[in-house]
């Protein structure tokens, strides 16, 4: 007898989760979600040819185009990843129940945790692949465009006879708006946020009775989750004796404990504006994301393990 059956079974579980994940991925791909990417490419390339009205003089020329490319891209990534994460997660589980395909899967030697993890990973795989493709496109276009802007600005500065250190400062300024490492960090943040909302949608769908309900609740939590940090701050300041009121205190506490903190991911906006994102902070953000995903999967399993169909 194997002394550690649980550990010995890990590759088996991993293989089964992978099968379900790839299957869910294929299912979504064949639902033609990737058409969105063509649309994304189209607007991105179009935005590149699209000249924004200039409010400013030549000393700022082009930099706002770089910012526009980033805003477009990360905005589209945000929309796509959040909508896809919620809708497809909310859809996949009830669809399996409705079509009775779940019976055939669970009638095979498939632990329910493997099934849940597989479905979620399938959705996340799709989001990841889509984001990676969008990221590659954005980075490429941004790279080309940054070099163009830089060349223009350097010629302009040289013609004006700027001192070397000011040219250097200008160059730094422009490059900060280009394809930086922090920008990749922002894309990763978009993905992390999508993983959290997807796993949360999975949890909701284990006890929800309809796809519509899951979708609405998940979106609601997504929006309110942006204020969790404010509720937490309010609770902690009350705790510190800034004010009292048991009702306010308990409401803010419950919001802070129950909802995920999505405000953390607003760093994406600051990065688009050219702020630098230190690797340590990105690492911490990733840890938070992992914590949520693992927790929500286990929580989903808690409900799903004994669910009857």
């Amino acid at each position: 007898m194997n002394p550690l059956p649980a550990i010995a079974a890990i590759p088996e579980h991993a293989a089964r989760i992978a099968v379900i994940a790839f299957h869910a991925f294929t299912q979504l791909v064949r639902m033609k979600v990737f058409y969105f990417l063509a649309f994304f490419a189209l607007i991105l390339i179009a935005s590149n040819f699209f000249n924004l009205p200039q409010h400013e003089g030549p000393e700022a020329a082009g930099v706002d185009v770089l910012r526009a490319i980033k805003s477009w891209s990360l905005g589209a990534m945000t929309l796509f990843s959040v909508v896809l994460s919620i809708v497809s997660t909310a859809l996949l589980l009830p669809k399996d129940v409705e079509d009775r395909t779940l019976y055939t899967i669970l009638a095979k030697p498939v632990p329910r945790l493997d099934y849940l993890a597989g479905k979620l990973l399938g959705v996340l795989l799709l989001v990841f692949v889509s984001l990676a493709m969008m990221d590659a496109l954005m980075t490429g276009i941004l790279h080309i465009r940054t070099n163009m802007v830089l060349a223009d600005q350097m010629t302009f500065a040289e013609a004006r006879g700027w001192p070397a250190e000011e040219m250097e400062a200008l160059k730094t300024d422009i490059l900060a708006q280009g394809p930086t490492a922090s920008l990749q960090g922002a894309v990763l943040s978009v993905f992390l946020r999508a993983t959290i909302i997807a796993s949360l949608a999975l949890l909701i769908s284990t006890f929800s009775t309809s796809t519509l309900f899951t979708t609405i609740i998940a979106f609601l939590i997504y929006f309110i989750g942006h204020f969790q940090a404010d509720a937490r701050a309010a609770f902690l300041s009350q705790e510190a004796g800034m004010s009292d009121g048991i009702l306010a205190k308990s409401v803010t506490l419950v919001v802070a404990l129950v909802l995920p903190d999505f405000q953390l991911f607003n760093v994406i906006d600051a990065v688009i504006e050219g702020q630098v994102m230190p690797l340590v902070l990105l690492g911490k953000l990733t840890l938070i994301g992992l914590f949520y995903v693992v927790f929500y999967i286990i929580a989903s399993w808690l409900i799903f393990a004994k669910k009857e169909f």
């Binding site: 299912q27 009638a107 498939v110 009857e308």
Partner: protein, 289 residues
């Protein structure tokens, strides 16, 4: 040879479903016990809503019993490993429409841990068995009812289970498709696979099953070997070959002389399963609650 455990062992299964708040729970299955030995073909018959599907789901661990136990080859149904030896075809199955027949079988095969050339060979073999080789590359979305049922059966067989559970295998299938499925069940029986099926189509059950159980309003009302069940206990049947009318007249005269015995009918001696079913369910209905 050691005594092998029964393929299916359901002991005093009770399943309640909550309806709404404060109302009494609905008892879908009430103290049902079934034991199916390896190699048997067992048919569970009963009208719609009598608890057939719930019993099967409990056996597969899809619902948890309120009380009682279910086991497959001695393994508790609530444990995942009990599912290694069982294949299941649900009622009116749908499969992933985006997959082809071949991909569907591959998917279920991989779920059971079958890989590589073993999987490939098994899929080819099963497609041949259910006669879907020509349609194997078509998306399931375009399959007919009968084809769906057959791919469902193939899916159930993918890991060579020793037990196959079929929930209404011929529901909504035309007579020809129905016969094809019946033939497949015969093939399974030849291979020694235990089959547990439920249906409300009685002739079909009569044709393929060697054991039957009748379930009505959640209760098992009659169970046993088909041969025994449909024999009429207070009657005796003589089947004569090449008997001339004189002999028959003699026998009839002999019977007439007996005070107790009575000749009911000569000719076809058996009742049908259908008649048995109706009789048993009627008796159940007239009983006071």
């Amino acid at each position: 040879m050691s005594v092998s455990p029964p393929a299916v062992e359901i002991r005093h299964l009770v399943k309640d479903f909550k309806t709404s708040f404060r109302r009494q729970p609905l008892r879908a299955v009430d103290d049902v016990s079934i034991r199916i030995m390896p190699g048997e073909v067992y048919g569970l018959i009963g009208p719609n809503g009598s608890g057939k599907s719930t019993t099967m789901k409990a056996l597969l661990g899809l619902v948890a019993p309120t009380s009682g136990q279910c086991a497959i080859f001695g393994k508790d149904s609530l444990k995942v490993d009990s599912r290694n030896e069982v294949g299941f075809l649900p009622e009116n199955p749908y499969f992933y429409k985006h997959l082809s027949g071949k991909e569907t079988l591959e998917f279920y095969g991989k779920l059971c841990g079958i890989r590589g050339s073993t999987l490939k060979d098994r899929v080819t073999e099963l497609l041949e068995l259910v006669d879907l080789t020509d349609a194997s590359h078509r998306r399931i979305g375009g399959y007919s009812k009968g084809m769906l049922q057959r791919i469902g059966l193939a899916q159930a067989l993918i890991q060579r289970p020793r037990l196959v559970i079929l929930d209404e295998p011929t529901a909504g299938v035309d007579p020809i498709g129905s016969r094809e499925i019946r033939d497949l069940i015969f093939k399974l029986r030849e291979q020694g696979i235990t089959v547990f099926l439920c249906s409300h189509l009685l002739e079909q059950v009569q044709e393929v099953c060697d054991h039957v159980g009748i379930i009505f309003r959640g209760k098992m009302v009659k169970e046993g070997r088909l041969e025994d069940l449909i024999a009429i206990e207070d009657q005796t049947e003589l089947i004569l070959k090449d008997a001339d009318p004189g002999l028959i007249a003699e026998i009839e005269a002999l019977i007439a002389r007996d005070a107790k015995a009575e000749l009911i009918r000569s000719g076809k001696p058996r009742t049908t399963l259908e008649r048995l079913f109706l009789r048993e369910t009627k008796r159940q209905e007239t009983q006071p609650k």
